[in-house]
Symmetry: C2
DNA sequence: CGGGGGGTTGATGAGTGTCAATACCTGTGG
DNA sequence: CCACAGGTATTGACACTCATCAACCCCCCG
């Protein structure tokens, strides 16, 4: 059972051997139409892994780069450790997202990826992908688009960290998750967070106590109901306004 | 006269019509060896603009995306406006850097690019580039590498904003600029900043007064000499340690 | 039933932002 | 050449947000 939302999609249950063409995440994963043969070729090099358990790592900072990963289900956080041993979460990645793009140039992972909810991923061995895309430039155009999207979303995040108050940050991440879940076919107002308060704090640059307090205040103001990881948004528009849009 | 460093390189003076092959920034701009014909093809589509004046814009948030830009000289900041009208600087870009990568997917610029020191850029029309790379996949591999580098460097920046104190932030950006200037052949310890304290503050998520105070403290401690935009690093190693590495 | 991790709540203080006054540069026009 | 104006940087006093520390609760799991 996917833990993000109550209305779980049956179609994503048997994940291991679905081809890209028939994958429910097709629209999210690949930004523009891909040709039949591109999809077929991609299918052939994809290494379908399964069942990554909670609290395990997909890769670690410093590991050699082998593949990029498409998430089929679950939730992964990427993070970097500061010299003092604190972790800065760089992103929460949901089904359809692609990670490890930061490692392509150096060949070394610059962040760690930890499974925070039972997850399935497709591994796309990068060497094979590069070879393949010599013949199929369309494939690499897809990759460029995905990377562009990642850069734009990091800019959004940078603005959040640089300029927003604690309330705005919490509101913003809730709206952001809501939007992303909606695109994936889930209810936008019934979130079941995949991450702990601790993770949220390490993402937003706030202490867990602050997260807790802000959520409490939102709760009191009738904006939402927060019970542990279950969050119901009652006034999403007002939350969005508070976030300074999402 | 380039304003970043006192030891200005003569070779970059006549910038307008130099081909990529002979450009002094070749090694920085293109992450891996490019073939003769790739370079030649690239040269042919590049639109060489010149003489962008200080305090003008290369593009603005919301503008339609036409081209990516390689900086030949000068300094550009990219930024996004918050709903309250404050600006979050997303990055300072130096000669050899490439900007507008965030706009490829949506076709709309997600940030503004302002010239903060007289600048020369090469514009690479993206449509033409895409067409060209159908025939030359190596070109697009270059782009992927550049984008990967950008993503990794944004992760560094996110860690700075999320986890570091004012002192660490200022130390970190100084070390970062020092490193980047050194790669470009300038002295690493004699910085002439292209950006104002205001820009620095809007980048680091700090008030200008805080920047000023931190620099003052560093000055007192003998780490550096700061006189307006001229900054001499006296103890770069200690600064680096303070930054929690760069 | 008991233990432990995760979450909440309260009191306090440190680190920065804000506001205001002042000094400093830079370019402009007389 | 100097005087002036406008932007830019510095310095000080104060306020406020948020981190820290500590106690407690809740709930899940063994």
């Amino acid at each position: 059972m996917n833990s993000f939302v109550s209305t779980y999609k049956k179609s994503v249950n048997n994940l291991e051997n679905i081809s890209c063409k028939h994958c429910a995440l097709y629209r999210i994963c690949l930004p523009k139409e891909a040709s039949e043969c591109e999809l077929y070729a991609l299918d052939n090099i994809i290494d379908r892994q399964h069942n990554l358990k909670r609290n395990t790592w997909l890769f670690n900072e410093g590991d050699p780069f082998k593949a990029i990963y498409a998430i089929k289900s679950g939730c992964i956080k990427t993070y970097r450790l500061t010299p003092k041993g604190k972790e800065q979460v760089c992103g929460f990645y949901l089904p359809g997202d692609i990670i490890a793009l930061d490692a392509i140039e150096t060949g070394i992972h610059t962040c760690s990826a930890k499974i925070i909810q039972a997850t399935h991923v497709c591994a796309i061995p990068y060497k094979k992908f590069e070879t393949l895309s010599q013949a199929m430039p369309g494939l690499q155009q897809q990759l460029v688009r995905i990377m562009s999207r990642e850069i734009a979303s990091q800019q959004w995040f940078v603005t959040l960290l640089g300029k927003k108050s604690a309330e705005e940050r919490v509101a913003a991440i809730l709206c952001n998750l809501s939007d992303r879940l909606e695109v994936r076919g889930y209810s936008p107002n019934e979130l079941i967070l995949g991450m702990s308060r601790h993770d949220l704090g390490d993402y937003l640059g706030l202490a867990i106590e602050t997260i807790s307090r802000v959520l409490g205040r939102f709760h009191q103001d009738g904006l939402l109901t927060a019970k542990g990881k279950h969050i119901q948004l009652h006034q999403p528009d007002q939350l969005r306004a508070l976030a300074g849009y999402s």
